[in-house]
């Protein structure tokens, strides 16, 4: 068993086919699998259903696959940062399913945990509830949401080992841990790959059982909204 691949393209070899379902971790551009998305773009795979909280920006992240019309449908909670997305959606070229963010996260978690469906009060009485089973528990109404699985999940972690154990960093964790569990095959890209035993077993976020392939990536880590505060004036200035 060899989980480590030399680059993103070889890590995706044999996994991709047209009309497949892909999960991609990340919140905005934070914690997205940049290298694997680029390799998916270069593969020319089309008809993709992409499950991802956002759709990248015009020229980065999943936005790259929108430019080349490789994505047929998006399942997301918020897509406001992408003009090409808007154009394709309004012209009917792109299907879109909005999920509340917590529902999307839970659908991925459920899918990975072998739970086909669950009830939530999120979205009751809204468009999201239309056509869904309603059920009362303890006097409150809930709607049924189904678990999600993907043919391939693409995730980004900070550190990983050759067994596929992963540790995420700060808010770059976001959707990556659940999506790692919900892929029939999960491919991870990390900033630093180490031998087993280097990472503290108590600090592992995603156990290696969920990760079939792993690569070291080069990460540009673009910032969407660079926001700062002024430094206080120094006393000796």
């Amino acid at each position: 068993m060899q989980k480590v691949f030399t680059d993103a393209a070889s890590a995706l070899e044999g996994l991709l086919f047209d009309d497949m379902t892909i999960m991609a971790g990340g919140f905005g551009l934070c914690g997205i699998p940049e290298n694997l998305i680029m390799a998916l773009h270069d593969s020319g795979t089309t008809g993709i259903t992409a499950i991802s909280n956002n759709a990248g920006v015009d020229d980065w992240g999943l936005g790259l696959l929108l430019q080349t019309r490789q994505i047929k449908k998006m399942i997301s909670s918020y897509v406001g940062e992408n003009k090409e997305f808007e154009r394709q959606y309004l012209s009917g070229e792109l299907e879109l399913e909005f999920n509340p963010q917590g529902t999307l996260a839970e659908r991925c978690r459920a899918g990975g945990a072998g739970i086909p469906a669950f009830y939530t009060k999120t979205g009751v009485g809204t468009l999201v509830a239309e056509g869904k089973e309603h059920k009362d528990f303890n006097g409150e109404t809930y709607i049924m949401e189904t678990g999600l699985v993907a043919d391939v999940s693409l995730v980004k972690a900070w550190k990983g080992d050759t067994e596929g154990n992963l540790i995420y960093r700060k808010t770059a964790r976001n959707f990556n841990p659940m999506m790692a569990t919900a892929g029939k095959v999960t491919v991870a890209e990390v900033e630093e790959l180490v031998e087993p035993g280097v990472l503290d077993p108590d600090h592992i976020h995603t156990p290696g059982i969920f990760v079939q392939r792993i690569i070291v990536g080069q990460h540009e880590k673009r910032i969407e909204q660079r926001t700062t505060r002024p430094r206080p004036a120094t006393a000796d200035a």
Partner: protein, 213 residues
């Protein structure tokens, strides 16, 4: 004189209590963080996966792995913890967050909230708003009392698609403060030099007026 954005945020800060875990929405609600009373311990949650949100970083210290739900660079505090989006919305849906302060396009007198979609216009998505209003213990809306064209935003019933049904507990607008209890709307405070008559004129919703106003 009607309240400014800062004054609305300052008024909203009066709803904070020591020990509260709070989620602040994008826009005016974010300003509430600037008015947390001295000595009060309030922990801010960012629904992408963080408790204990610190201020914006100094220039040159931005970390692309550390952003808030508005995708802005932020900083951590000594008490900060990070977690997945599933854990984050477990906190939200599970009723562990004390207070959510957010913006609105429309609020109805029964507490219905619309803040994510205008039919016919590009829809950006609800993000975490539906989860927050369904799960957080108390929901406070900060909004301009009227839309840019002067039309009322506090209505008998929302005509925009809902974010949540009967979820709003308080509305702070530039003209005053309303409370919704058991599906009934009450005006409980007026901004300086605003009269009850002014508010009535600018509101479509039916509301009662608290004693002493």
């Amino acid at each position: 004189m009607a309240w400014t954005r800062e004054q609305m945020a300052e008024r909203a800060a009066q709803e904070l209590r020591d020990g509260f875990y709070v989620n602040l929405g994008i826009g005016i609600p974010t300003l509430v963080a600037n008015f947390i009373p001295e000595g009060m311990h309030v922990t801010l949650q960012s629904e992408n996966g963080m408790l204990g949100m610190g201020p914006f970083p100094y220039e040159g210290e931005e970390d692309p792995d550390l952003i808030n739900a508005g995708k802005q660079t932020i900083t951590e505090l000594p008490q900060t913890s990070y977690f997945s989006s599933a854990d984050s919305f477990g906190m939200v849906r599970g009723g562990h967050i004390d207070l959510s302060i957010l913006g609105a396009m429309q609020v109805a007198q029964n507490g219905d909230l619309a803040n994510w979609m205008i039919p016919g216009k590009m829809v950006k998505g609800m993000g975490g708003a539906m989860d927050l209003v369904a799960g957080v213990k108390r929901v406070v809306v900060i909004m301009d009392h009227n839309a840019r064209d002067g039309s009322p935003k506090l209505l008998k019933a929302c005509d925009l698609p809902l974010t949540g049904q009967g979820v709003v507990d308080m509305i702070i607008s530039d003209v005053g403060v309303f409370e919704i209890k058991e599906g009934r709307l009450t005006l409980i405070q007026l901004a300086p030099d605003v009269t009850v008559e002014d508010v009535k004129e600018r509101t479509e919703a039916d509301f009662t007026i608290a004693e002493g106003l």
